[in-house]
């Protein structure tokens, strides 16, 4: 398969692993920000072929994992309403809310639909004028343009039955929050390539300069990740802290301008709560004043929704890289994909799910 196989070439992988070994003289702790990168690392066993001195810390870049339980409970309450068709990406359906997940709501008669794009939800809104169509708009900067576009489309079509339940989060404020934490062990970041494909990477420069920490924009295939590690380790070994772009075939410095314009038109930056981490200022998107009529949180009265978090789940520590999934006492015992205590065990980008699925330990 073109554009995939080239980046999984076994000989080149081995060469790059050897090159990393050659330049590594001391211990380094790197964080891969995105959950997609975590899964690649664990799936392909990349951490098994690099020197033991390099520790890969798994970051908070899993949109499912950081979505606060309140939003899930609100989603579940909306999905149970007879007048609502609730649309979501498939990933969110098994994530536990306080009492149940969206799949259970579906089984109880709620109209919950998996869509591949928010634009499919807009189509449903057009098809079912007698129903309210709510789309669960979660994700980082990667999903924001399509979600914003769906609002613009709904407006153009004059649809008054379409809305977004939003939990949009942003990468740079999360990195900054990690860097200011007293528990922070991270010495270098592999930043999330697809987020930068949309946003470019200029916004990371102030972080590099302020915290003197290397950031390498990195892709998701085995060769991408190993090259990202190589560049990051090389900086650390040479005592540099710079912003570098490994993922040049996808990411440009300026990013995708039209996508940024759409985001700017529809969303405004706001404070967001991150599950397990807490509220981070200016770390997410909400609908701008012009489009606030598409906000499900305003359209529906959700004041009765109550949330009760499970105290045993240490997802916050996992997502800040303070603990590894297998260091959680509940891992694989009281917390499994079938009966998860927290989102990182169910999400396809969650670190706990990666460890459970590919390592079992």
């Amino acid at each position: 398969m073109r554009y995939i196989d080239e980046y999984r070439d076994a000989d080149k992988v081995k060469q790059l692993a050897a090159a990393i070994k050659k330049i590594t003289t001391r211990e380094h702790r790197l964080m891969e920000v995105c959950g997609g990168q975590t899964h690649s690392i664990v799936k392909y066993g990349l951490d098994q072929i690099i020197p033991d001195q390099i520790e890969l810390i798994h970051g908070p870049g899993c949109p499912v994992c950081v979505t606060p339980m309140e939003i899930l409970d609100q989603a579940i309450a909306l999905a149970a309403r007879a007048d609502v068709i609730f649309c979501s990406f498939g990933d969110m359906l098994r994530v536990p809310g306080s009492e149940k997940d969206l799949l259970s709501v579906k089984a109880e008669g709620g109209d919950v639909r998996i869509v591949y794009s928010p634009l499919d939800a807009v189509k449903l809104a057009k098809l079912h004028p007698d129903k309210q169509i709510v789309f669960l708009a979660v994700g980082f900067e990667t999903t924001a343009p399509a979600n914003a576009l769906s609002v613009i489309q709904a407006e153009q079509l004059g649809l008054e039955n379409y809305s977004l339940l939003i939990s949009h989060v942003l990468v740079p404020p999360a990195i900054e929050a990690l860097m200011t934490s007293s528990d922070c062990r991270v010495q270098g970041f592999l930043s999330a390539g697809h987020v930068c494909a949309v946003m470019g990477y200029e916004e990371y420069r102030p972080i590099v300069e302020k915290y003197k920490v290397p950031i390498v924009v990195t892709g998701f295939e085995p060769l991408d990740i190993l090259q990202g590690i190589y560049l990051c380790v090389k900086q650390l070994e040479e005592g540099r802290a710079e912003l570098e772009n490994q993922y040049t075939r996808v990411v440009s410095e300026a990013g995708n301008r039209p996508a940024q314009e759409i985001i700017k038109k529809v969303f405004t930056v706001s404070a967001r709560k991150w599950r397990g981490i807490g509220e981070i200022p200016n770390s997410g998107f909400g609908l701008s004043e012009t489009y606030s009529q598409f906000d499900a949180a305003k359209r529906f009265d959700l004041s009765a929704v109550r949330t009760k978090e499970d105290n045993e789940c240490i997802s916050g520590l996992i997502m800040q890289g303070i603990k590894k999934p297998h260091e959680c006492p509940a891992f694989g015992i009281r917390c499994t994909p079938e009966k998860p205590l927290g989102a990182p065990m169910v999400s396809s980008e969650g670190a706990c799910s990666a460890y459970y699925r590919y390592r079992k330990s």
Binding site: Y44, D91, L93, S348, Y356, Y358
Partner: protein
């Protein structure tokens, strides 16, 4: 691959009178009798069913044991690239019999039809069933028809049960799997699941991915005829390769080591899986199986399957070991390894 369904506009049932199924077609009265007598039985060329007795009475050849299985088919859409619910409901049960080392012989057929299903559509699926049954050399000897209210079924649900006969000297149950056995898959993986998903979700690719749905008993018979000492067989349906191998490894308390680079997955299936965020090792097949046998015979077995179906890439993908960190371990080309776990729930498309 399979032949086209022979669709000729000469349905024995008068379409003009009943262009769609109505509730009375399941009511037990005259209309139901006409549906059976004029459409179902002649189309399926059913044998003992035509006696219209409460049960079919069949003989068992001496020196054989009876294998029995049942399966229900609730596929949506009813027709998909490479097949339809008709042939699928025959192949599925025939394949389950073949996996027990049985020669498939007789089937029962239960139809649960949704009110409003077009008569032409039903007839087309019955024809597909007949063609598949003829191909497999099985006879449909008893059946049942029910009609459910509109909105309470996806057009048509089918249940088939199958009887087959296992020769005295054949035993392909999991307890015969041994340390050192080779694991062979009969062809490339994941076609059925991706064909269905693409059709269901309206995804289109440059090439249409066709379901692999097909009968497997000829392949099994060919291996047995050449004296391959098959220790165990398992078809790779729901949950794909991963679930099948995990079940067997767990049942036998052994470990299966797989070489990821040898597992056959067609380029277009891999591409679709990449796009959708799915793992082809978990995607369903409807015409593939895994076989366990002495390593010394594996290459010969591969050649036999290759000769029978040159297009579907049989491969030796691994071996059975005494113990490991998990029931099924996948070794990759980089020298890394990972657990191939059983699917939890169903695979869900990713966010980004």
């Amino acid at each position: 691959m399979k032949e086209e369904i022979n669709f000729t506009p000469s349905c024995p049932f008068p379409f003009e009178q009943y262009p769609t199924i109505v509730m009375a077609h399941g009511g037990g009265g005259r209309l139901m009798k006409r549906l059976l007598d004029e459409m179902v039985i002649p189309t399926l060329n059913a044998g003992a069913i035509s006696e219209m007795h409460d049960a079919a009475v069949i003989g068992c050849p001496s020196g054989h044991r009876i294998a029995m299985t049942t399966d229900s088919f609730v596929v949506n859409p009813l027709q998909f690239p490479g097949g339809d619910i008709g042939c699928l409901s025959i192949y599925g049960t025939v394949n389950d019999l073949a996996m027990a080392g049985a020669r498939p012989a007789y089937l029962s057929l239960g139809l649960i039809i949704e009110e409003g299903l077009e008569m032409k559509t039903l007839w087309r699926f019955l024809e597909s069933m007949r063609n598949a049954a003829e191909e497999c050399g099985v006879r449909i000897v008893t059946g049942d028809t029910k009609v459910v209210d509109r909105g309470k079924g996806d057009g048509l649900y089918v249940n088939t049960a199958g009887l087959g006969f296992v020769p005295e000297n054949i035993d392909v149950r999991p307890h015969r799997i041994q340390i050192g056995d080779a694991v062979l898959v009969s062809g490339d993986l994941g076609r059925h699941g991706i064909a269905i998903m693409a059709q269901r979700e309206g995804l289109s690719f440059d090439t249409t991915i066709e379901s692999d749905c097909a009968t497997l008993h000829k392949h099994v018979q060919a291996l047995l005829d050449e004296n391959i000492d098959i220790h165990c067989l398992r078809d790779l349906t729901r949950g794909g390769l991963s679930s099948a191998l995990n079940e067997l490894a767990t049942a036998t308390d052994l470990c299966i080591d797989l070489d990821e680079t040898t597992i056959p997955v067609a380029g277009e299936v891999r591409a679709a899986c990449e796009l959708l965020g799915l793992d082809p090792l978990y995607v369903a097949c409807e015409g593939r199986f895994a076989a366990f046998m002495p390593a010394a015979q594996a290459e010969q077995a591969k050649q036999i399957l290759q000769t029978l179906s040159p297009m579907i890439q049989p491969q030796i993908i691994g071996k059975v070991a005494a113990e490991g960190v998990a029931p099924v371990i996948l070794h990759n080309a980089f020298g890394g390894q990972r657990v191939l776990d059983m699917l939890s729930g169903e695979q869900l498309p990713r966010i980004c």
